[in-house]
C-alpha cells in the first residue's frame, strides 16, 4: 500500500500537475475525441469531426491533442490503424480486406503507410508472420 511519507518523485509529480495549465475539462474533451477515433477508425474520420467531438477549433484541437499525447491526431489515427492492420494480417485476412477494415480506400496508400510505419510492406509482414508460425 502507498507510504505515508511522499517521495521526492511524488512531490515533483504533484507540483508539476498542480502547475499544469490545462483545465480538466479539456482533458476530458480530448479523450472523447481519442475514444471517437478508437471506435470509428475503420470509417472515414475527418479532422473537423474530431475537433467538433472535442468542442474545439481545428487549430486548438491539434495543438492540445499534441500537447497531451505527444503526436498529432492525424499521426495517432494512422498509428492506430496500422496497429489494427497488423492484428488483422496476423489473423489471416487478405491485404485488401485489411486495408478496407482499417479505414483506407486505396491499397497503395495503405501499403506505403504500412511500410513507412513498420519497415515492411503488408505482404512482407504477412509472409514474415506465416514463416514465424512454421
Amino acid at each position: 500500500m502507498p507510504k505515508e511519507n511522499k517521495t521526492y518523485f511524488e512531490r515533483k509529480l504533484e507540483r508539476i500537475y498542480a502547475e499544469d495549465s490545462l483545465p480538466a475539462r479539456q482533458y476530458v474533451q480530448i479523450r472523447q475525441s481519442k475514444a471517437f477515433m478508437e471506435k470509428y477508425y475503420s470509417d472515414r474520420v475527418e479532422l473537423n469531426e474530431l475537433a467538433r467531438e472535442a468542442f474545439m477549433s481545428r487549430f486548438h484541437y491539434v495543438r492540445i491533442f499534441q500537447r497531451m499525447y505527444g503526436l498529432t491526431p492525424r499521426i495517432y489515427l494512422r498509428d492506430l490503424r496500422i496497429s489494427k492492420a497488423k492484428g488483422l494480417i496476423r489473423q489471416g485476412l487478405s491485404i485488401t480486406q485489411v486495408c478496407l477494415d482499417v479505414g483506407y480506400e486505396s491499397v497503395s496508400t495503405f501499403s506505403s503507410l504500412f511500410k513507412k510505419c513498420t519497415g515492411y510492406t503488408p505482404k512482407e509482414y504477412q509472409n514474415l508472420h506465416n514463416s514465424n508460425l512454421e
Binding site: 500500500m1 502507498p2 521526492y8 518523485f9
Partner: protein, 129 residues
C-alpha cells in the same frame, strides 16, 4: 529505419528478477544466453513477442549500483510499462503481494501507479486515458 529493440532494467539477482517479471508482472522469457558469470536475459510482452525486449541487466558495476539506489531512494521509477486497465492491474498485483509506492492516480492525460520490482527499482505503470 532505426528501431528500439531492447531496453533494460538493472537487477540485483537475475534469477529473482526473472521470477518477478514473468510470474508476477506477466512478461515472457525470450532470451537466456550465458555470458560469463551473468546472462543475456530478456523478457517480452505476451502481446508483442517480436517487439521490444526488456533486458534484466545484472548490476555488476559499482557506480551503476549507486545510481540505481539513489533513484530508488528518491522514489523515481527506473522505467514505465503500459497497461490496459491500471485499476485492475493494481488489484491483481496487490493480491500477489506487490508493494506500490504510488497507488493509481491521474497525471495529466494518463493514470499512473508505481510499484517496487523487488530487484532494486521502482517501476511505473501507465494507462493512457
Amino acid at each position: 529505419m532505426i528501431k528500439i529493440y531492447v531496453t533494460s532494467v538493472p537487477v540485483e539477482d537475475q534469477g529473482k528478477a526473472l521470477d518477478f517479471y514473468t510470474k508476477i508482472l506477466g512478461f515472457i522469457k525470450k532470451k537466456d544466453i550465458p555470458l560469463g558469470e551473468h546472462k543475456w536475459l530478456t523478457v517480452v510482452s505476451p502481446g508483442e513477442q517480436s517487439g521490444v525486449e526488456l533486458l534484466l541487466e545484472p548490476m555488476a558495476f559499482e557506480p551503476a549500483k549507486l545510481y540505481q539506489r539513489s533513484l530508488k531512494e528518491a522514489g523515481i521509477p527506473w522505467t514505465s510499462f503500459a497497461v490496459d486497465d491500471i485499476g485492475k492491474e493494481y488489484q491483481r498485483l496487490c493480491n500477489l503481494g506487490v508493494q506500490f509506492s504510488i497507488a493509481p492516480r491521474q497525471a495529466g492525460p494518463v493514470m499512473i501507479a508505481v510499484l517496487d520490482d523487488t530487484c532494486g527499482n521502482y517501476i511505473q505503470l501507465m494507462q493512457e486515458l
